[in-house]
Symmetry: D2
Subunit: 475 residues, 4 copies
């Protein structure tokens, strides 16, 4: 496969993919021309585009430890604490450009988690997954493809194990083992960047027991493989993307263009299978992926929050409230919250360490802490943005009103703000705030990288025990 270098290469590669994508019940022939999808493509394209800018080379690219070639950092295996920190800085940087999700970190984390775990499986079971995976990794690094990190299964009734579900396919599993590969069935939900990625790297959704071993599965395949069907999820205000203009709020969409991806008897050759039946390793892989994904959230959401804070400061300026002491106080609080989550991402990276396979891994407890703060602080940042921006973000007329020959003059007259500020500028910044502080954007900050309860559970075990013992020493 030809290496994807530029934004144009990336868009063309998606045109050439011919995968089966549905949007609102209808097949999409060319996703790059689809207004509901294109913003997400443009966001992900920045991961290619920014890597070409000299000033960002240090953050956006790395040197492959396998080939020595320069690669996009999103395909790199972390070789140092510095790599872990640069990951976080890169995410904040791109967040500043998009004000939205740029999707590519999920596959990045899937690569690192699988790299570490396939090594460990080989150590324990004398398998050769690690060698297979390194070949796959070189393919990813050289072709620069974008990967879906495929973890979350639909899960049906959450109180039941995979094999206890009414429909065995509610968790993705192997339905047939053949000499040249396996047949899998199931689906992955909430797949960030799903429709505008090239391949998917499937991982189990949770720890698995002996009886669930067919569900213990890691494998990769292109999204145009027969049997793969992608359904784009419905987002907040998504119809606005079909209009041209300001009401969409953010040209890069919101969140990650998540999709439901169905595997209807998909064949995967053995060289792309990296865990198959070693059920005791599933939980370890999940934990590692989750840790590395939680590491990200203070980076990307920190960057995205900077834009929301800045937009809110501008909105205040445009309506003449920027110098009010309570406005400054609230903006300072928003900054405080954004820095708190960023601090978490930096700290778990700085406290990262080398694992047996040589890859570096962030501190799990601190990564967990980071994401837990994100589930709270992003909501509070949005709340403060609403406070400052005013009720107008919920009641502002349509762009169509502004442009109407009949009522446009009223909109211009009555939405005027401070002297010298064009009404269009004010409306645009308010629409951006609306876009960034609304429903879908908040939900993502809650559930990305695992729901609060799963993160909380990590803390309830040995961490409590640990401190209890520290307390006992003081008696």
């Amino acid at each position: 496969m030809k290496r994807i270098v530029t934004k144009e290469d990336y868009v063309q590669s998606l045109k050439d993919l011919h995968h089966v994508v549905y949007y609102n019940g209808k097949r999409v022939e060319d996703i790059t021309e689809h207004p509901g999808i294109r913003p997400h493509i443009d966001a992900a394209a920045l991961t290619y585009e920014l890597a070409l800018r000299p000033e960002y080379e240090d953050l956006m690219t790395a040197t492959s430890h396998l080939t020595g070639r320069k690669i996009n950092r999103f395909t790199h295996i972390h070789q140092s604490v510095d790599d872990l920190i640069k990951k976080v800085q890169m995410l904040r940087l791109i967040g500043h450009e998009t004000g939205s999700c740029f999707q590519r970190c999920v596959g990045f984390d899937a690569l690192n988690a699988t790299y570490m775990t396939s090594y460990d499986i080989d150590q324990k079971y004398k398998t050769d997954y690690f060698e297979r995976f390194k070949k796959y990794l070189i393919h990813v690094q050289d072709s620069n493809v974008m990967l879906v990190g495929g973890m979350t299964d639909p899960k049906g009734d959450r109180s039941l194990a995979p094999t206890k579900q009414l429909d065995p396919d509610l968790f993705t599993h192997v339905v047939e083992r053949k000499s040249d590969g396996i047949i899998i069935r199931g689906a992955k939900a909430h797949m960030t960047g799903g429709v505008n990625s090239h391949e998917i790297l499937i991982m189990p959704t949770q720890a698995m027991r002996e009886e669930d071993k067919d569900y213990a599965l890691v494998c990769a395949f292109p999204l145009n493989t027969p049997g793969v069907v992608l359904i784009f999820g419905r987002q907040t205000n998504e119809e606005r993307k079909f209009e041209e203009g300001m009401d969409a709020g953010n040209p890069f969409g919101l969140v990650g263009g998540e999709a439901l991806i169905i595997f209807d008897n998909v064949f995967v050759p053995w060289e792309r299978v990296f865990l198959c039946g070693e059920h005791d390793m599933a939980g370890i892989l999940v934990e590692r992926f989750a840790t590395m994904h939680r590491q990200n959230y203070g980076g990307c959401k920190g960057g995205v929050s900077d834009i929301l804070i800045g937009a809110t400061a501008l909105a205040a300026e445009y309506q003449g409230t920027a110098s009010a002491s309570h406005v400054k106080e609230k903006l300072a609080e928003m900054i405080h919250l954004a820095e708190t989550i960023y601090a978490g991402s930096v700290a778990c990276s700085a406290m990262g360490y080398k694992t047996p396979c040589g890859a570096y891994y962030p501190d799990p407890l601190l990564a967990n802490t980071t994401k837990h703060n994100v589930t709270r602080h992003i909501y509070e940042i949005a709340r403060l943005a609403h406070d400052i921006a005013g009720g107008i973000i919920a009641t502002m007329p349509f762009q169509g009103d502004l442009e109407s020959s009949e009522v446009g003059r009223y909109v211009k007259k009555y939405l005027a703000g401070a002297k010298g500020i064009p009404v269009e500028a004010r409306m645009k910044i308010l629409r951006l705030i609306e876009n960034m502080s609304g429903g879908t954007a908040l939900v993502e900050s809650m559930h990305g990288a695992g729901s609060p309860q799963r993160r909380r559970s990590c803390m309830e075990g040995w961490e409590i025990l640990n401190r209890r013992n520290a307390g006992r020493k003081r008696l």
Copy 2:
């Protein structure tokens, strides 16, 4: 005017109104047939419909202290503490029916605030506003029209007084005094129930100084008066209202169908003018309206929150998590927060008192406290709803996917939840949660009845002094 009794009467009266309404830059001929507006009409219609049910008669109706006739409570002047408490109970009741804003309390509060204040102006200035207003009130009670409570001006640059704005019309004002009435110009923003009301009762947006006396103005007129133009505001996911089906989430829309209402040289006869130039009374009226409007929020939002909490409990049940201890804990917290805001509304009513004109008035400090809690707790309730409902509310396929002959079977298969729960039921409840916890709904809880800073300011004056003196006594 014929008395509006039934829901049908109400809808017909709106058809007959022929006021000038714009939606997305286009004139709407019949708002009752417009999918973007109809849900709000249906919500407001419940204020008529429920008043006819015997079981709700006590809450939904009252006896006019002026005529002795039975009237809709939304047109009543509070005659007792019991009236104040019934108001709150009525709001929670209707909130249970709509899960959304039913709009009619704004005009209700405007009536009460004007009643009390016109009396006081007459006492001070020997004017006859109170008599005029009582006649108007009888008209409202007998015809049972729905009123817009018109307080918030566009305000342009918030750091400048009305007369200092670049455009003098950014606050609504009298531009000409004539023998038979006045000509006014300006606009009112965020007008709840704007397009589906019959008349508007305009009030000043803030305290006014001597030089702003043309902006000190209370008057009423029908919305089909020449020069009145209404522009419907754009809401979160509003295009979904145009589709038939589940994706709209709530058949009663969300928030109050707010509109920008423009007064382009509107004539108002003197018998409908209730304050004109007595600038020192403007602040008093604003404070009274605000207090009575803040009183409401634990009632209506308490009721609406009950529905959101119930929907969240169902969503948990549908996906098999209802018995998890953390889910029960979070639902209990949501209830706690909803009851906290309801307690505020009940308390300010129970501590209400009789004013010189005979009308009862809720305790301002407690009403203030209530609304301040609403600006926080509604966000936290939404956050917890997201936590329990799961990422699916941000990534769920379109209704069009569910109904598609090509991918419908996949949606049915992979969105299945607990045994026996139809996929449609699960999707419907998730769409309801999405509707109720999203952008516009949150913003409304922040800014309705005055932004946090205006509420906060009320506390900073004599309340601090008050306690300081209590503290000093202890020295």
Copy 3:
């Protein structure tokens, strides 16, 4: 017994009681002369003293529904919603006088809970507890004694039921039934006003099962009954009460002078036994007592918080920061939090209702909500008090330094604040803040009237179900 009317009567009655009280391992002969105990006596004495002031007659006294005689409200059975509201107002009033706990509400609530429940037991079991209790009630009303409300047992290992404890006495129980009465053994912990009350009304600490029926027990007896031993609990900074002067912070002490009360084979005559073995009624009584006790917390803590807020405002004034915008903002937030808890107490009272025995009962869910907010807001009020008052409340020199001939001049010189403020005044107000925002005072707001988990549990049952059903109706 002679009726206790004045503060002096009350103090004398305690001298005459000759009950067995220990303080720091030593028997206290006369508690009224003991500096560690006297502040609590003075606080409780205000419940007698204020009842004699004409301006407080309406709040502090009531008319007995049994005798028609005027009684202290703390011995009254609520006869109306108005009684419930006056209770809350009375508590806030006394809180303003003491800035501390005045202890007498516990017995008040015990009387009401037992009144209602003894009636119900009789209805169910044809017993005559209600008649016995009414006689006891008349004795309490006429003599105006102060009662301990004895609910909380030591409980040993909380994961075990009463009969499963290693020591059967860790819950108070009947050890022998005799013809003229019963012998009981056990203890009650955290007994507010324990040492300066006259009698105790014992109640069970939780719902009881069949096998725990000896632990289902309500009875009353004087604290000088043989076998009763009281041990005064150690409080924050309690040694300062032994010094004369400002460092004690508050002449009325802090919290309720709690005691551990031991029953070492205490005899109780049958006429003072109001539940004995009817185990199914224990949980009902606990719930009722808890509801009525939770009702109080927005009243007393609201009043106490007013003093802390006022003291904090004064401290700011004394050091020149009162006009800073952040100080005013924080004081406003403190007021907001205090009013939020007060609103809860008023609301649960306003929504109170008549029970079968005729007594009025506050709304349990709203009472629960009130106390739950107290467990959070009192801490936040303290935190804000610390913020404004400054680090000086943690590092201020001793009163002994101020009075020292060697270093007194340095203290006077360097603790000077704003012009004209005597150093002593500043130090006094800072010591008051320290007293009111410290350890014991906070813990009381957490655990009085039941720990958060017990309150939370009340919400998790039918309240969730209730809302779930409301949600379902919207499908």
Copy 4:
């Protein structure tokens, strides 16, 4: 001066100091024998003792960049990001040992701030402060003395500048310049470790203007210099330190044994003066000291919180509630909060950078964020500790009761917890929790390293502007 190596050396050096210390108005001849002071000495002594343990050598010691000699890290100038991170790890480590403040970081930060700033002054003004300071630094490193970091002035009326105060000494200033040195007058308040340090390094308390240039002053001198008087501050429950036994809660006291230090015409030779009159540099020095001091709080308070969390877990275990889901949830939340503050300290260190003089400096915004979280989370951790530990921490009998021949058996009987747990162990852990979650300990977390408003102000300037500009780019 002989190098202080062991704990014994340290104690002896304090005996030898013969400085003028007052406690409760009385001169203390030997502070090492004084029960009110000794716990703080023992805490600080650990900074000597742990440095001798091989396993902590890497964290507790460093190599002087001036002399190449091994030194205690508390006297080191940070030479790398790794040094910054080790500082934080060292603080958490010692926090685990003391569960309290060990005081020595203040002088540490004062050394680093002065090092950096004296270099900058010389660059700007061609002075020789840096050379003087390096000599002083070598003295500190070699003698291993403990320094007070003297920043906070009494400040009188906070709304007035130093020269506008009624008493010019309310800010410390130069009163006379002589050929061999200067005479200073004033005081420093809240001086952590004040009485058990050897020397003080005085810094200005805020930015200074031209007219305040006599208040722009950095200098160092021993605490036994004539004219220096130290007054020990009164702490929560400090009398308990005079008893022998468990009621004191923590053998290392609580917070830092803060003192008011008075300079009554103290002579300081020029070689110990490091800034004198260069008023424009005062604000820079304050900001640097504050940043480095804020950096600490997630380290020391993180470590201290670990002990409180552990003690709380033990208390739950001792009373049979450790396996309750809400207890585990709350312990997990406490851990989350402790890790959040620790993450801040690590992150500001990891993002630290080299300054012109060669010393490394943590990221100011992240350091600020860290301390701001401490002002909230330590209170919440205390609140949760109270929740789990129970009301008993506010009402537990005295140790004197436990040991009493008369009532000791009752205390033992009724404070029994889970099987096999000695009552003494339970009481001890409860007293430790009481000690760590009470008044003074909380206040310290609020005001150490600057009050919230001063930290907040740092964010309100260019940080808002910064983000506003980022937001504008998106238009």
